[in-house]
């Protein structure tokens, strides 16, 4: 009798263990089914030739479905350490054009040289630092690499890494 009980108990535990392994495995499979597809992941690069841009006129590129602001500085605009990048002879701001508050797309006012988010009145300077309103942090900087006069969005180049190192330290 005793023997039977423990045998039954063992079978129960063994069945439980098999079921648990199967359960975890299917959860992993389900999670991965929801992951972005490989084609989505590999479509993550955009190249922009910045040599032809006009100073103080906002250029909007699209990377991973997000608007990317590229702003060429005029001679009298001061580059900021850690937020401006030099491509060729000019300085630029390269930023994800989504307000860090709730994700609206701010507009650029070239006479005042600043960004204004109409949604809740957030404002950013030309290099993307928040200067007023609810946005909690500066505009994000997308990973980029400089290749001559083109900007490769989606790849982490040395300039980008240097910028991030600075942001991390601040």
């Amino acid at each position: 009798m005793m023997m039977d009980e423990s045998r039954r108990g063992f079978i129960g535990k063994a069945f439980g263990a098999v079921a648990a392994v199967g359960g975890v495995a299917s959860l992993i499979a389900m999670k991965k089914t929801w992951d972005p597809l490989p084609s989505v992941m590999s479509a993550g690069f955009t190249t922009v030739d910045v040599s032809g841009l006009e100073a103080n006129k906002l250029e909007i590129a699209v990377w991973r479905g997000k608007p990317i602001f590229i702003l060429k500085y005029t001679e009298d605009m001061k580059p900021t350490d850690g937020r401006s990048v030099k491509v060729g002879d000019h300085y630029y701001s390269v930023m994800v054009g989504l307000c860090t508050h709730l994700g609206c797309i701010p507009g650029y006012e070239n006479d005042r040289k600043m960004f204004k988010c109409a949604c809740h009145g957030g404002e950013y300077s030309a290099d993307g630092r928040q200067t007023f309103g609810p946005p909690p942090r500066p505009l994000d900087i997308p990973p980029f690499k400089i290749d001559g006069v083109t900007l490769v969005l989606g790849e982490e180049g040395p300039e980008y890494k240097a910028m991030m190192a600075k942001a991390g330290g601040a």
């Binding site: 989505v40 991973r64 479905g65 997000k66 709730l102 994700g103 109409a118 949604c119 609810p134 909690p136």
Partner: protein, 416 residues
Amino acid sequence: MAEFKPAGSMYEWFDQRLGIDKFVKVMMTEYWIPKNINFLWAMGVLLTVMFTLLVVSGIFLLMYYKPDINMAFDSVNYTIMQEVAYGWLFRHIHAVGASVVFLIIYIHMFTGIYYGSYKKGREMIWISGMLLFMLFSAEGFSGYMLPWGQMSYWAAYVITEIFGGIPLIGGDLVVWIRGNFYVADATLTRFFMLHVLLIPLAILGAIVFHFYSLRFPHVNNEAGEFFDFDEEAEKYLAGDKKNSKVVPFWPVFLSKDFFVLGFFLLFFFYLVFFHYSFAMDPINFDKADGLKTPAHIYPEWYFLWSYEVLRGWFFEIAGISGKSLGLIAFGFANAIFLVMPWLDRSPMVKPANQRPYFKYWFWLMIADLMVLTEFGKLPPTGPNAWVGFGASLTFLVLFIALPFITKAEAKKVGGK
């Protein structure tokens, strides 16, 4: 197997195999409902009818809708609205229904709070009801996205973005939920699946559970009176219908419900035929554009109060950013109703107007929700931002104060 005698009629044949007689008794003719309840208790039946209407109209829309970012907008605004005979009718029933169902849910919910129907043995009814509310919210939101208009797109964008506020995993979680780095085709197709299959299934399950949990403590009544349902039922069955405090669900109680339902459906179809546009935002008749935000984003009216709690916090307090504070408050607002039965520490089950302190709390809460709803729709700038902040704060304070208020009340009334 039991031995089956030859059946004398078709009814008997089925009765032998399915126990129809018994079933009808348990579910309808001997399911007891208190006599003294008013029209507010009809909301459950109204909701059941609304849900059915939504499912049926949804099935018809499903035949022509295309869950693909290139076709979705036209399949709704051209095919269903222009080509399909009566397609407009099903769309309007569905859209107005989705809006009105929340109106009825809120009435149902606040009736429960007003009469104390979440207390003493009725906790599971309350919890399953709140679960239903959450599922309906998810259902409403996932459906709102499907027409792929500008407001749909940006609502989906903002709501999925909320998950980005979760520490550490937030960013990856957002990409995972969307299936892309932005709201894209993958997002549309998975929300489509949620809207037409998974969430409705869960809702059906929750409805069954909600009804089941009602069977043990029974329906509350207008006076919050406690009585023995079995005793009252016996009286009724013995023929003393006048003195019995209960009536059977069918046909007596339902006849009253049908009366309310009749009025409700007149109102509902009046909206469907003459005022359907209130349920459709004009911005949603522009096709979704991920590179152009509408000047002002807001959700449908029934989410405005919690949306306002989310964005009411526009400055940082004690080093926590306004955004995080908003998220915390939003989480609080959405979870707090769930624990109502434990926040209310007064054992008395009475309508709010007979409770010395709770009555003030109740109407303050309703007023605050109205302010939140009103300001949730307005642009949050200037003084609006401050009203929004004040109302969000009031909401939190009200719920934090509830246990103390009700405890004091219990002392005052019963001394225990």
